[in-house]
Symmetry: C2
Subunit: 336 residues, 2 copies
């Protein structure tokens, strides 16, 4: 029985082996993945990002259990740590409370850390997600540590993106929030029992109104009233427009988790009804194809030149005789 057949039959050890092959960029892993690719496209991808200190790990833990309980579909969690490019250790995954999750064979957790260049992790994550999708997981949670650009771009490859905030994390949090607002399908203020939670919720609501140009009425759960969304701004039917809710949770107490899962299921239905799912899939795959193409073309080019020639070009730049752009032009011209 091949590795792929074992994975399709539900063998978790075979799946773990494939993921390791992918992370190590072994050709047999990519071959197996190409064979599995026709089986992908079934899972709902959920990106989860948030600044440090927001209680993301606990919230993810609760969401996984609630998604299992409510939908019976299996859940895979990919914990991505792009802030560890040096140590190679993935930390978040170990910190998600395994004891709560490991009892359920329908939940699978994989930690990933970056090795090598920026961008490499995004590519590997995409491949890992494809493998989990083919393996039949109904929900794939892509969780990133931190909320920098790399993290947001990884989370944003998902169908539904959750952004987690918490009260009282200081001024800089406002800056991050402004940046990732447009990526968020669902906003969650966790630790909502802390002082400042109301302010955080209102600030997010105001920012959303400002960004969309629509004043909204928010119900006591932080959901925008349906009548106020959609039609007012564009004349399109309400199901074609998604107004991100701002929800409150206290993940350590399990409070508000049900509402978050409601919103996730709502967004999934919205995407299917509006054609957004097909569009997001297409964007994600297009980015993946371009990134792979870029890597392949560079590798091919570097193989075609001698080491001495490449060293000489770099030496010209280091001695300031050619700018990086000039050196690249020279290398490309020499090829012709």
């Amino acid at each position: 029985m091949s590795l792929s057949d074992r994975i399709l039959a539900g063998d978790r050890l075979a799946l773990a082996r494939l993921l390791t092959q992918i992370e190590n960029e072994q050709p047999e892993g990519f071959d197996a993945l190409s064979g599995l690719f026709p089986r992908t496209g079934q899972a709902h991808l959920l990106g989860i990002t948030g600044a440090p200190g927001t209680g993301k790990s606990t919230l993810v833990n609760r969401l996984a259990l609630e998604l299992r309980a409510r939908t019976t579909a299996t859940v895979a969690i990919v914990a991505v740590d792009p802030s560890s490019p040096f140590t190679g250790g993935a930390i978040l995954g170990d910190r998600i409370r395994m004891r709560d999750l490991t009892g359920d064979p329908g939940i699978f957790i994989r930690s990933m850390a970056s090795r090598g260049a920026l961008g490499g992790l995004a590519r590997t994550t995409a491949a890992v997600v494809d493998a989990l999708d083919a393996a039949g997981f109904g929900w794939i949670l892509i969780v990133t540590v931190g909320a920098g650009q790399a993290e947001v771009e990884i989370a944003r490859t998902a169908h539904t993106t959750l952004v987690i905030e918490a009260p009282g994390l200081g001024d800089d949090v406002q800056a991050i929030k402004a940046g990732i607002l447009e990526a968020a399908d669902i906003l969650v203020v966790n630790k909502a029992d802390l002082p400042g939670a109301d302010n955080a919720v209102r600030a997010l609501q105001s920012s959303l109104e400002l960004a969309s140009g629509v004043r909204r009425v928010w119900d006591h759960h932080g959901r925008p009233e349906p009548a106020e969304t959609g039609q007012a701004e564009t004349g399109r039917a309400a199901h074609e427009v998604w107004a991100p809710p701002v929800l409150r949770t206290v993940a350590v107490l399990g409070e508000g988790i049900g509402e978050v899962v409601d919103a996730i299921l709502g967004h999934r239905s919205y995407l299917e009804a509006s054609g957004g799912r097909v569009r997001r899939d297409r964007e994600r795959l297009s980015v993946e194809v371009h990134a792979l193409l870029r890597d392949r073309l560079l590798a091919e080019f570097l193989m075609s030149r001698s080491r001495a020639e490449l060293e000489a070009a770099l030496e010209q730049v280091c001695s300031r005789r050619a700018s990086p752009r000039q050196a690249v032009e020279n290398l490309l011209a020499a090829r012709a």
Copy 2:
């Protein structure tokens, strides 16, 4: 008088125009930059990164003033906000207290936000830094919002990298800290008057000892004792090994800023004595050349294929008839 000549003569408006051209990727900007490139290599590049809530803006403000006062060299601040890929607004720069800095014509501030793909900002930042270097700034502070992978990689292109922490930012901060520890030349615990500062300092010191495998004696400023560093671990002379200090500041009160500048000047001397400056420059320029090469090769390839052909390849992937890797192989094979 050309734009380049005006920049070399100290014309700040000309410099601002060039930076805008570079940010907008206008060819004339890159041409001017290639002309200026031989004048680069003089500035000391200082990367500053830290999680939200660490008080980075205030600290940067104080450091800029102190560097000006102590070294008389001019200071440029590049505030990079990779977490704003969507709004295009750069926030940090506006939040550095301009009133303290704008009175001094020897300090120049430029904010940058990401437009487009991950990696693009790193490339643009490198070009902006080159322009500022050629323009004669003695210190270039590259300040990033957030501490994700993108931020760390940008900060790390500097000669000296400062990582800022603060007490009481929650558990996730530990995770980020572990990841960026190896990138730090100088660690600063800001807001050192808050409870938990001693713990934060000790945790960083322990992590550093763990990473280097050397137990150290720390003086009351958080500097590792010279006798304990260097020789013990490698047998090399002490000036060849840099043991990152863990310093305390209360930036709003101006406390500890002098010690941070001492450490920066110390690290600069160390880099010059050890050959580390040449090595770091070479690494940085090598990354820049490879990134430019990758972009150029992709652009060239996409130009050489018809739109229909590229669309057909993507369609194959979206319909799951080919994996992303297979589609890329097919595109490359069709070229031959």
